[in-house]
Every structure is written in structure tokens, then in C-alpha cells.
């Protein structure tokens, strides 16, 4: 089903708008909240702004919504420049972290609010409220007071209220962070399904990298007011461009490497690389626990893999797997994850091990802040 119930009686024309952000700067005093940010968001895309607190992700969302006016730069919805347009004229749906439902109205009253502002007929309002409630699986709860709802239900109402007037852009600011883990994971899928059904362009802000990986078409990683990298989840995970991105997304352990002539050396040992490296700044080798494999001690020098030696320090049971922490040259630590399937022989603490990782999994990235993303 490509057109949901909300769309069927709706505005016609495109359900989504592309967003073009160019050279946005915003300073708060001497603090650079956004430092020359440019980003193209495709029509109908689910894009997540991911970053630690203070990275500028929320400020960027506020610039899109119109609540924060940038010091300079441009924001366009399709061809239309909106950077000076006040929020209420932008026709965007918005969902906040704390739901921000109107407690002096019923659930139906909350949903009807944006429609009343648009002078929709009363009969049509009723019909559309019903549809929107069904859409978020709250059918029949329209007469309820807001404080009679559970956290998950409130979030659904906030969601329905943000999309009931069929905005072509939906902005969400950490909408699920107040929910407990199970509910949050369930809502992640629901939000994504809602997006797929209604087809608007969605910009989602979170600091939770797993949430970003679960939901997004593409993720823009922000740090210190700059975009570090914009890529689909898998590309971001497997081919991070900076040490910051590699560190922030997924579990990883880093070892310093020296780089010259496009090659990389780890503790006097040349690495097999998937492609040459440009530049000569400090670099890191990023190792993800699940990409490492335990090699038999007997064989030496295997083709097609890089090998690293170390001594087992500790192993930690995780239910479906075991994390083995390995000391490398005493000063460094890496870890490998061994899935518990069949009869696995686990190395014991103190044992010397050889670990292998594929050439494609050999991630060598510049230390944070050296090479920015798209600029």
C-alpha cells in the first residue's frame, strides 16, 4: 500500500519535499553550534541526525523547523527558500522528546488542533481524526484525556498530531528517548512504518546510534557543529571516514598506525589495505569485535587476512556470545566476539592468540577532526 488512509483524501501532488541545507552557521556567543553545515536531504528520505550532546544536531533541526534562525546560510524546501519563514508558515510536522500534548484538550482535540488552524470542516475533521487514530492504533480513544494515556500511547498521539495535516516534512527530536527499552524498540519500527506509509521526508534526531542504524535510510553524523559523514547505515558502519564516526557507531577498538606512501604500518607490520590512504596525519586502525576471528596457532602468515597477536585478558559472557578481551603489546586492548554456537573452544585468560581480520574489514581512519565529511 503506497497511499495510506491519511493521504487518500489529502493534498494531492507530491507527498514529500527535498530539503537543501547550505552553509548554515549558528553561534551562541563564542560557542559554534553549527559550523558551515551543508546537507541535501532527498524527497521522502528518512534521514537521521546523529551525534553526542552539543554536536549541533538539535540546533540543526530547530533551524529546519524555524525556531532557530541561523547566523547565515540557506534552507530550501524544494525550490523555496525558508530560512526567514516563521515556524507556523513552514507546514512541517514536529514531534518532541516530551510529547508536549495539550493537557487541556482530549486526544481528539489534540489531533483536531492543526486541522482547525487550517479551517478544515468539522465533519471532515472528525473523519480525519478517526483515521489518524486508527493509523497509530489508538482507534476509539479519541475522547480520552491526555493524562489517561500511557507513555507509548502519548507518543503515538504526538505522532498522529504531527502528521494529521499531511505535512510533506516531518521533524522528530529524540521522540522515543523517554520510553523504556522494549517499547522504544517497538516504536522505532512503528515510526519507520508510518514514514513508509505516508511517504514524507523525515528528519530524525537522536544520540542513540543503534536507533539511527535501525530506522534510517541515511545517517548524518555530527560532531562539534560539523557534519562528519553522511551515508546509509551499513556504509557508515563498515566504511567510517573518521575516527570519530568509527568510534561513535557500533562497538570498536582502535590501535594507532603510521601511514606513509599510501600504506599503513601497525607495530612494524605492514597492513593489507582495501585501498590506498591519502595524507599523513595520525591514523587509527579500527577493529570491530565481530569482524575478528580466532586463527589456529600452527599456521603462519595467511593469505587475504591481516593478523594481530595478543594475550587473552578476560572473557565476558553475553548470553548469545562471549567477548574476549585481548591485550596487544601490553599497552593496548582489543576484543573479539565469539558467537556461542555448537562446541566452541574458548581461549583461556593468559593464552596467546592470533586474530585475523579480512582486508575489506581493515578500517584505517584519520584521528578525529582531521578530515571532515562533506564540506
Amino acid at each position: 500500500m503506497t497511499s495510506g488512509p491519511l493521504r487518500s483524501d489529502g493534498m494531492g501532488g507530491a507527498a514529500a519535499l527535498p530539503i537543501t541545507i547550505s552553509n548554515i552557521r549558528k553561534n551562541y556567543g563564542s560557542f559554534r553550534a553549527l559550523d558551515n553545515v551543508s546537507l541535501d536531504i532527498r524527497s521522502g528520505e528518512f534521514l537521521t541526525l546523529l551525534g553526542p550532546s552539543g554536536s549541533g544536531k538539535t540546533t540543526l533541526l530547530m533551524v529546519l523547523s524555524g525556531f532557530v534562525r541561523p547566523d547565515s546560510g540557506s534552507v530550501r524546501f524544494a525550490e523555496r527558500e525558508v530560512v526567514l519563514l516563521p515556524p507556523h508558515k513552514r507546514d512541517i510536522g514536529m514531534v518532541f522528546q516530551n510529547y508536549a500534548l495539550f493537557p487541556h484538550m482530549t486526544v481528539a482535540g489534540n489531533l483536531a488542533y492543526p486541522l482547525k488552524l487550517r479551517h478544515v470542516h468539522r465533519a471532515e475533521i472528525e473523519a480525519r481524526v478517526e483515521k489518524a487514530l486508527d493509523l497509530v492504533q489508538l482507534g476509539g480513544l479519541g475522547a480520552r484525556g491526555v493524562d489517561e494515556l500511557s507513555g507509548g500511547q502519548r507518543q503515538r498521539v504526538a505522532l498522529a498530531r504531527a502528521v494529521i495535516f499531511e505535512p510533506r516534512i516531518l521533524l522528530m527530536d529524540e521522540p522515543l528517548s523517554a520510553l523504556d527499552k522494549n517499547l522504544r524498540e517497538q516504536m522505532q519500527l512503528e515510526v519507520r512504518r508510518l514514514h513508509d506509509r505516508l511517504g514524507m521526508t523525515t528528519v530524525y534526531v537522536t544520540h542513540d546510534q543503534r536507533e539511527a542504524l535501525t530506522m534510517s535510510d541515511r545517517i548524518a553524523v555530527l560532531d562539534k557543529g560539523r557534519i562528519q559523514q553522511v551515508d546509509p547505515p551499513q556504509a557508515l558502519y563498515e566504511r567510517p571516514k573518521t575516527h570519530f564516526v568509527a568510534d561513535f557507531i557500533g562497538e570498536s577498538f582502535s590501535l594507532p598506525v603510521t601511514v606513509n606512501d599510501g600504506g599503513a604500518t601497525l607495530f612494524d607490520q605492514a597492513l593489507h589495505l582495501p585501498r590506498k590512504i591519502a595524507g599523513s596525519e595520525p591514523y587509527f586502525l579500527v577493529l570491530r569485535p565481530e569482524k575478528l576471528t580466532l586463527l589456529p596457532n600452527s599456521v603462519d602468515g595467511e593469505a587475504g587476512v591481516n593478523v594481530i597477536k595478543g594475550q587473552v585478558r578476560q572473557s565476558v559472557f553475553h548470553g548469545d556470545s562471549v567477548m574476549i578481551y585481548v591485550a596487544v603489546r601490553d599497552a593496548h586492548e582489543i576484543a573479539l566476539r565469539i558467537p556461542l554456537r555448537g562446541n566452541v573452544v574458548l581461549p583461556q585468560p593468559g593464552e596467546h592468540v592470533r586474530l585475523g581480520y579480512g582486508i575489506e574489514d581493515t578500517i584505517v581512519v584519520p584521528a578525529a577532526e582531521q578530515a571532515g565529511g562533506e564540506r
Binding site: G93, N98, A100, H104, Y113, P114
Partner: protein, 270 residues
Amino acid sequence: MLRRPATSTQITHLQRLWLYILCGLVLFYLVVPTLLVIPMSFSGSRFLSFPPETWSLRWYRAYFDSVEWRAATSVSLQAAAWTTVVATVTGTLAAYGLHCSRLKITKHLSVLLVLPMIIPVILLAVGVFMLFAPLQLNSSLTGLVLSHSALAIPLVLITVTAGMRNFDLNQEQVARSLGASRPRAFVTVTLPQIRNSVLSAALLSFVVSLDEVVIALLIAGGDMATLPRRMFLALRDEIDPTIASISTILILLSILLLGLSQLLDRKRSK
């Protein structure tokens, strides 16, 4: 009455008796002087006296028959009504603005706004008189309303700020993202939620103006004499029992307004 603790940790009413007596005494001293005036207003004698020897309604008649008392009442009610409007609107807007603003100066501003409540009214009255003289606002309704509003705005500010504390400003942002202009968002989302504190503030403003005597003594001469001013002068010049009847009416009015604001409070907490 429980004389002995039912459990080892219970405190009996008997042990707490001193507390009840203290409370009773405090209430007695607070309320009795106010209530004393009621029987006095039904006195048949020509002087204020307690307890009255004969009973009559002559002082109520005296009040309603007197052109001067009626004129003063009319001035007071007008001044109170306009003060309510001016102070509630300005005070609410100020409370809203100070609440929303992130500027550092807001703290100093709110102190400045509360100042009329803190400095002695007599000083304020003298200042107002001096200020109004060249502006020819003395003995005018406008002057009365302006000076009474200055007294009422701090109360509005404090009441509404307290009401605003529980309000989540995000809601207004949501309303704006949903298509409401900022004034519209305020009226449809913010105001309904702080409504009760705004109404309480309005009642307070009304009472402040109705009750105000010091400023009125200095600036409300001639036709613009307010009820409290006339009462004060009547009390000084002649001990006129009409005052007792007016006081009784005012007490009833105050109780009514107070009850109303209590009712609003109960609704707010619901």
C-alpha cells in the same frame, strides 16, 4: 476522643491539645475584628457602638440614599474594573515574557516590577502625586487606574509566574509547528492552561484597587474620591455608622471573591 495511643507511635489528640488551642486563638484574633463590624452596622444608635443597643437598617438606608456615597462607590468600582484589566493584561504579558526570555537581565527586571509592592505605599503615593501634578492626572480616573495598576502588577506577576512554572513551553513550540502563529499559540494553548492563575490575579487586582486608601488620599480628590478615601475621611471627621454598613457589604463582596478564587484553585489542582 482518643486518650491513650492505640499504637506505640501514635500521638493522641490530647497530647496535641495545646496546638488546637493556639490555632483557635490565632483564628479568633484574625477574624473577630473583621466580624465585629457586622452587628455594629445593624445598630439603631447615632454612633458607632458595640454591642448595639437597638437594631435597625437605617445605616444601610443612609448609604444607599446618599449621593456622595454612591458616587464614591461608582468611582471605586470603575477604578477597580479598569485596574483589573490593565494590571492583569500587563502583568500576564510581563510574566510570560520574563518566563520565556533567556536574557540575564530578566532577574533584575522582575525585581523592578515587584518594587511597588515592597516600598512603603506612602512613598509611592507621594511620588505618584509629584509625577501626576505636571501631567494633570491627579483627581482623574486615568491617574487612579495607573497608580492602582502599579500596585496590582506585582501581584499579577507573582501569581501568573507561579502558574507558568508548571507549563511546558514546548507545547507552544508544538502549536507553532502545527500552524499557529505565536499570539495564536499563546491564546489557544498557553492561556487556557494558566487561566486559573490569571483569573486569580485578576481578582487580586480588583481587590487591591477597591481596598487602596493611601494613594487615593493623595491623588483622588473632588469627584474622583474613592470609597475607601471617603470612608477614611468620614471616620476621621465624624464617627458615622454608615461606614459599618459599607464595611459589611465590602466584607461580603471580599468573601465572595475569595470563595471564587478558592473554587478556581480547586479546579486548577484537579
